[in-house]
């Protein structure tokens, strides 16, 4: 994956670089507008040519001028070399110096210039002395003529002939300078010979001037052909033609370059167009892939959202499940506690029922014994009355007196009065014990503990109140406002337990002052209701919601389990009933229980 991406990146970079370099190449090739440099180059060549012709002009001047200043024969060469260097610099940009044709043209020109400068250098040397001798010739000849004229004319004809020879020789030499032919050279040689012969015929003072003259003429004879030859050589050196060749090549190259330029312009145009099309295509592709990416992105986002929602849903479900579980756990805990509590109550009830049962027997025979005792004593009273009446009749008086004393001592009268009272009270006590036992049995209902039965709630309430009476006694007065209730299908012991809870709570809600607990009941259609109201301290609003929660208690540790109301709530709910609370702090609290008369229990 990584590798392919790198490879495709490399491929992309390479092709981009390739395209860019092609573009740059074409641009450079088409941009190379070298008409400027061509013009410059041509101008330089033209200047070189100008210098060359000026050079030649100066050479012509030098061959006809004595006392010539040779500086102008040096400067054109210097100038030409400088111009050539400049030209070479320009041409270095053209890069065509490498072609054989150009190399040849360069070499030809350099060779030509070198030849020419060498010939010119020689020309300077030879021309200088030639001109000097030519200029000196008339003076030298004149000197001889004058000298000849000064001679005593012993042989005028010969002297004349010598003068004529010398003059002719001079003229021939001057002529030779103009028309250098072999004939003339031969003439001059003949003349020189004649002069040499004539010299011998003349006095010694002539020898020096004649030698000088003939030396100079010999020099002319030697140098003139050399100078002419050098001039021919100079003329033969085709510097100008070489320059023309270069100019022509420049022209040709320029035309070719122009053509190439145009061609590259065209290529550039085509390439640019292609590139533009490619760019357009790529733009379209890009747009397309962008929209594709967008689409995929959107889909992805949708999926993501959905996923999130699903997660949320799952989380919710999980939370709910967890809540439910927690609730279940709580319920279980509650149930367990309730179970424990009811077990406790149940065993307590059983104990109470057992005790009641055991107590019932002694109560029975004590009660019946008391009845018998009452009956026996009234019969005993009648007997005693009879004894008393009989006492007066008893003789000895002493016996009767002692009987009277004993009677007084034991306060028989008082006993006789008190015993019936005691018996009545005992009977009453026994009946109360019986009632208590009965209530205990009613409350616990040990015998029919968990069975739904039709029960008289009022009776249950009364029994319960009896059980908790001792707790209420010092705290509150009970007010009962019962409306008659029908029998209700319920678990009576549990309902009793609820009533007891509410009543005990109400009693505990009382402050130091004695309060009132009002019990009301009523029936509305298929519903019965029971209210337990107190005028105690009341429950703060923030606690009100929590009072049915398990283990919630405001009582000091040890006084309450915190289970009472929650247990009650559970019991009422089991009876498909409702339990409500109304409370105001400082005014009091009212609990209201609503129960259906019928339990339509589903299986």
């Amino acid at each position: 994956m990584m590798l392919t991406r790198r490879r495709s990146f490399l491929l992309l970079a390479t092709s981009a670089a390739l395209l860019a370099s092609v573009l740059v190449y074409l641009y450079l090739m088409s941009k190379a507008d070298e008409s400027d440099t061509y013009a410059q180059a041509r101008d330089l060549i033209r200047q070189i040519k100008q210098n060359d012709s000026q050079w030649e002009n100066e050479i012509l001047k030098a061959r006809t001028t004595i006392n010539y200043n040779y500086d102008p024969l040096v400067s054109p060469l210097v100038e030409m070399k400088q111009l050539w260097r400049a030209f070479d610099n320009i041409e270095a940009h053209h890069r065509h110096a490498a072609t054989p044709a150009w190399r040849a043209a360069y070499a030809d020109y350099q060779q030509a210039l070198e030849d020419k400068s060498r010939w010119v250098e020689r020309f300077k040397s030879h021309n200088a002395i030639l001109r000097n001798s030519l200029a000196f010739l008339p003076t030298a000849a004149d000197g001889i003529q004058v000298q000849l004229g000064q001679l005593d004319a012993t042989d005028t004809l010969r002297l004349h002939s010598i003068a004529t020879d010398t003059y002719d020789l001079m003229l021939s030499s001057l002529e030779f300078a103009q028309m250098t032919t072999d004939d003339k050279a031969a003439d001059i040689l003949v003349g020189l010979n004649k002069l040499a012969v004539n010299k011998e015929r003349l006095p010694a003072e002539f020898h020096g001037p004649i030698d000088i003259l003939s030396n100079h003429i010999a020099l002319i004879l030697r140098e003139q052909p050399r100078v002419n030859q050098l001039l021919e050589q100079i003329e033969a050196v085709a510097v100008a033609e070489r320059l023309d060749t270069i100019t022509q090549m420049l022209d040709r190259d320029e035309r070719a370059a122009l053509l190439i330029d145009q061609r590259y312009h065209f290529y550039l145009l085509v390439f640019s167009t292609l590139l533009m099309l490619l760019l357009l295509y790529m733009a379209v592709c890009l747009l397309r892939s962008f929209s594709e990416i967008n689409r995929v992105n959107r889909a992805l986002m949708g999926a993501n959202d959905e996923l999130e929602q699903r997660v949320e849903r799952r989380t919710l479900a999980l939370t709910q499940a967890s809540t439910a579980l927690q609730r279940e756990i709580d319920e279980r805990t509650l149930l367990e506690s309730q179970l424990v509590q009811s077990e406790k109550l149940a065993s307590l009830g059983q104990l109470a029922a057992g005790v009641a049962h055991e107590v019932n027997n002694p109560i029975g025979f004590v009660s019946s014994n008391l009845g018998a005792l009452d009956d026996y004593f009234s019969r005993l009273q009648d007997m005693l009355k009879a004894y008393r009446q009989a006492e007066i009749a008893i003789d000895p008086a002493t016996l009767s007196a002692s009987l009277a004393t004993l009677r007084t001592e034991i306060e028989l009268d008082y006993i006789l009065d008190d015993i019936p009272l005691l018996i009545r009270e005992s009977k009453d006590g026994i009946s109360r014990v019986g009632q208590i036992v009965k209530d205990l049995k009613d409350f616990s209902r040990v015998d029919s503990n968990q069975d739904w039965q039709w029960a008289n709630l009022q009776q249950g309430i009364e029994s319960t109140l009896n059980i908790v009476a001792s707790e209420l006694k010092y705290k509150a007065d009970l007010v009962k406002a019962y409306a008659p209730l029908p029998e209700v299908e319920c678990l009576p012991s549990q309902i009793n337990q609820v009533i007891m809870n509410l009543v005990v709570n109400a009693a505990q809600a009382m402050g130091p002052q004695r309060g009132t607990i009002t019990l009301r009941s009523g029936c509305e259609g298929e519903q019965v209701w029971i209210e337990v109201a107190d005028n105690g301290c009341g429950i703060p609003a923030d606690s009100l919601q929590k009072i049915f929660d398990p283990f919630y208690t405001t009582k000091p540790v040890g006084q309450g389990t915190g289970l009472g109301l929650s247990l009650s709530y559970g019991i009422i709910k089991r009876h498909r009933g409702e339990i409500h609370v109304l409370s105001e702090v400082g005014v009091g609290t009212t609990f209201r229980i609503e129960l259906p008369v019928h339990q339509t229990r589903a299986a």
């Binding site: 006392n67 010539y68 200043n69 024969l73 040096v74 300077k124 200088a128 002395i129 003229l171 030396n215």
Partner: protein, 320 residues
């Protein structure tokens, strides 16, 4: 036919005459020195220091100025100067003054530029006996030079730039203000009548055929001994006597030398490539005999020498 021929001859002579007459009226073959050129001051200064720097020779014994003494006419007064090894050089030391106006350098004209000349002298086993790598290293090791070259040249110290600095300095070594130049510039009263006659003789005898131009010589090569064999007469031929033949190997260049400039000639004795002429008189004699093939009168010779003495110019405001 003879008539026609002689007519043609006459015509030819007549055709020649105006040219001769013309030559003496136009301008004149001599011209005054140009003003000292304004060149890059830093390069000139570097060149001046290099010119006086013995590190250019292999054993640090010779500088350019050892032979080209600017207080002695730009040369020394020896026939042959000693090289770095103390042995005499093959040819006489020419003056460095106005050398930039010579068409070629050296007696045999083997260098066309001053740069080339510097290049050859440093390498010459007889003269400086050094080599350029050593010279450039020595120069480059000198922080002052390094800084100077860095300022004056883009490439700093290198062979080409050292040569260029030397040449640039030498291009400033012109000696304008000679009395003759001032005469040429219009101050005709500055020359005495004799000196003017001397100039006239100088022209008439044809000295000017070779010693012409701005440098009064220096712009052509010439055979030493045009009208006589100088070397045979002098004796003791040396390889240097072959002159330009040593450069070209061309028989025609045997004994051919650069025509030296006559500027400051009065203060640059001894003369000729072999330093054989100790005085101007001796030199003028040799020239008349071997180059001009003529015998001047003593008077003419004296006049010419007087003229030659007007060619002494000034450097740094003082006559040489």
């Amino acid at each position: 036919m003879p008539i026609a021929r002689s007519l043609r001859q006459l015509g030819a002579v007549l055709a020649l005459l105006p040219a001769v007459a013309l030559a003496q009226t136009v301008g004149g073959p001599l011209s005054p020195l140009p003003p000292v050129p304004e060149l890059a001051a830093e390069r000139v200064e570097l060149g001046r220091r290099l010119f006086n720097d013995p590190r250019l020779s292999s054993d640090n014994s010779l500088s350019c100025a050892s032979c080209h003494r600017l207080d002695q006419g730009g040369a020394d007064n020896l026939p042959l100067s000693p090289g770095f090894d103390g042995k005499p050089l093959p040819v006489n030391t020419p003056s460095v003054f106005n050398a930039s106006l010579n068409a070629r350098q050296f007696w045999d004209g083997r260098a066309q530029t001053l740069e080339e000349q510097a290049h050859l002298v440093v390498q010459s086993p007889a003269e400086m006996g050094s080599d350029w790598q050593v010279v450039v290293r020595r120069i480059a090791d000198d922080p002052d030079y390094r800084a100077g070259f860095a300022r004056a040249y883009d490439q700093g110290v290198d062979e080409h730039n050292v040569q260029n600095a030397l040449a640039t300095f030498q291009r400033t070594l012109l000696t304008p203000g000679s009395r003759f130049d001032r005469y040429l510039q219009g101050d005709t009263a500055i020359l005495s009548t004799d000196e003017k006659y001397g100039y006239q003789r100088f022209q008439e005898y044809g000295c000017i055929a070779c010693h012409q131009g701005v440098n009064i010589g220096g712009n052509m090569l010439q055979k030493f001994g045009v009208l006589g064999d100088y070397f045979k007469d002098r004796g003791n031929p040396t390889p240097a006597d072959l002159g330009r033949f040593n450069v070209t190997g061309d028989e025609e260049d045997r004994h051919v030398f650069k025509v030296p400039s006559l500027r400051n000639v009065a203060v640059t004795a001894p003369y000729f490539h072999d330093g054989s002429a100790a005085t101007l008189e001796a030199a003028v004699d040799v020239m008349f005999r071997y180059q001009l093939g003529r015998t001047p009168s003593d008077e003419d010779k004296a006049l010419i020498i007087q003229f030659l003495k007007t060619l002494t110019g000034q450097w740094q405001g003082k006559p040489l």
